[in-house]
Amino acid sequence: MKIGTAFLAVGWIGVSGCAQLETQGVEDERRVEAKAPEVASDERMLLSEDGRYLVRWRPTPNPVPRNEPFDVEIAVFLPSDPAQPLTGCAASMSAGMPQHGHGMNRKPIHEQQEDHVRVTGLMFHMRGVWLVSVSVRGPEGKDRLQFEVEVG
């Protein structure tokens, strides 16, 4: 996950500015430490394992909510043309929490659209790292990819 550097800098300046204005008694307070804010997007555009396709994984809502339903649109591209999604590609996805040893509690529905596959009824019910697996079948044959989504 990327860090919003500019926003972080503004935040730190704000914190330290206030601290300088009134420092007396600070040692009595519960100590806190600011942490970098993160870019709020779980959308991915990744190359499949054998390099046959670029796959765009776009959740709605984005970022993926914790313990609430969400949908995903999977679009497949040739690496040579990342602007034009392929039509008629089959794609499916599953997800689980490797650290926990379980998957989702719901079976998602995959619906083939012209230039993407819509996956509905997903739910990542716990915070932590979810490993998403996507399988693709298109003009270049079958390929797959895996990536992590951290739900916080």
């Binding site: 926003f7 935040g11 704000g14 914190v15 500015g17 206030c18 601290a19 300088q20 204005l21 009134e22 420092t23 007396q24 008694g25 600070v26 040692e27 009595d28 307070e29 519960r30 100590r31 806190v32 430490e33 600011a34 942490k35 804010p37 993160e38 709020a40 779980d42 809502p61 970022p63 993926v64 909510p65 914790r66 313990n67 609430e68 339903p69 929490m97 650290q99 926990h100 040893g101 379980h102 998957g103 989702m104 509690n105 719901r106 079976k107 998602p108 529905i109 009824g121 019910h125 716990m126 915070r127 932590g128 951290e150 739900v151 916080g152």
Partner: protein, 442 residues
Amino acid sequence: MMIGRRVLWAWILPVLACQVGVKGGDEVPLAKGSTVELTAEQQAIALQLSPLGPGPEDPSNPVFLDPAAARLGQSLFYDPRFSADGKVSCATCHDPQLGWTDGRALAEGLRPLRRHAMGLWNVARQRWFFWDGRADSLWAQALQPFESPDEHGTNRLRVLHQIAGDDDYRRAFEEIFGELPALADRARFPLDARPVPTDEGHPHHLAWTGMEAGDRDAVDRAFANLGRAIAAFERRLVSDRAPFDRFVEGLREGRPEKLAALSDSAVRGLALFVGKGNCVVCHDGPMFSDLEFHSNHVRQHPASPDSDTGRYDGAILVRRDPFNAEGKHAEGASSEQRNKVARLITRMELWGQFKTPSLRNVATTAPYMHQGQLATLEEVVRHYSELPPPLFVPDLPERILRPLHLADGEVQDLVSFLHSLTDTDVAPELRGPPSTPWMSQP
């Protein structure tokens, strides 16, 4: 929750700034001299745990918010006449004086049951009902104990005949739901009948299958409405003003006097809860529950030697429940309500899993776990600190569970934090039956 991350940081940072730079030592008596630390990450998680917020709507229950239905439901809840021996009501196992549970390890209706009675605080916010989630709505849940032979031991026809034969109940029901079926016709509506799919030779089942399909539908519709009324009452059992909620307000607003709502020990317990202890992984969100199911290695209660399959069977049963959101009596159910049943995965790893209980008011609802195996909160915390091995082979363990190896002080800190989730303030009139099941019209 990642969805709120941008928003979250947009106001966390100013709050943190205020905490560092604005709060004076004398204005924060609890914090004065305190060595308690909460990292920004811990604070961010704490902010996700409060406020409780408004509960979800239930589109499958049109009277969910109806005061008259709630009053009828309250009467039904406390009335022992709707049981085989006239002594068991919902309140038998869900006693308002005992945190809406019964203080026993194993609940007891007409006979001892095999599980602990769950508390009802904030119950309308649950996703699944019972320890195994075999009901998918609060109103569908409320129906099952009536016909359980070990709980109320009655049946839907008997209950409806009682409603029809009682002027007050009949009035209340018909003012809300319209006319009851023509129950006076005993040839069409026998006194005792219910489906008993596990015993097709049961007299109640024979009586049920002997009825016309349309009459069975009418009975089911009326019976479902009784559940809806009970759900409208139970929706009111809300606990959302615990010291922890005040503390989180203090975090959010930078108000030292609100931060003082938690003792130093409780704040250390909070840090453990969202940090080293990893409790928040399952006990997450404002309900302190992910509303789903897990295995936690707790031993079987000695009085219940049989293996309890938990969610494994619960997932099967909720799919079969004729009153679930996919059924014809759940008109108005949302697509989400239908999907959660239709898309439910049933698989071996559900074996021995039980619902993550909410921790709000947990200090008032001892004993703990699905069979009340642990008597105190300290025992609960020590269970996770030491964590025995999984119970039996099919009981697939949660890999995330590891012994926490907590020091004695840490155990006490976690217990202190759990006590800070206590708010038992509920309207006194909800703690007993109303004078009448009907509501006077203005």
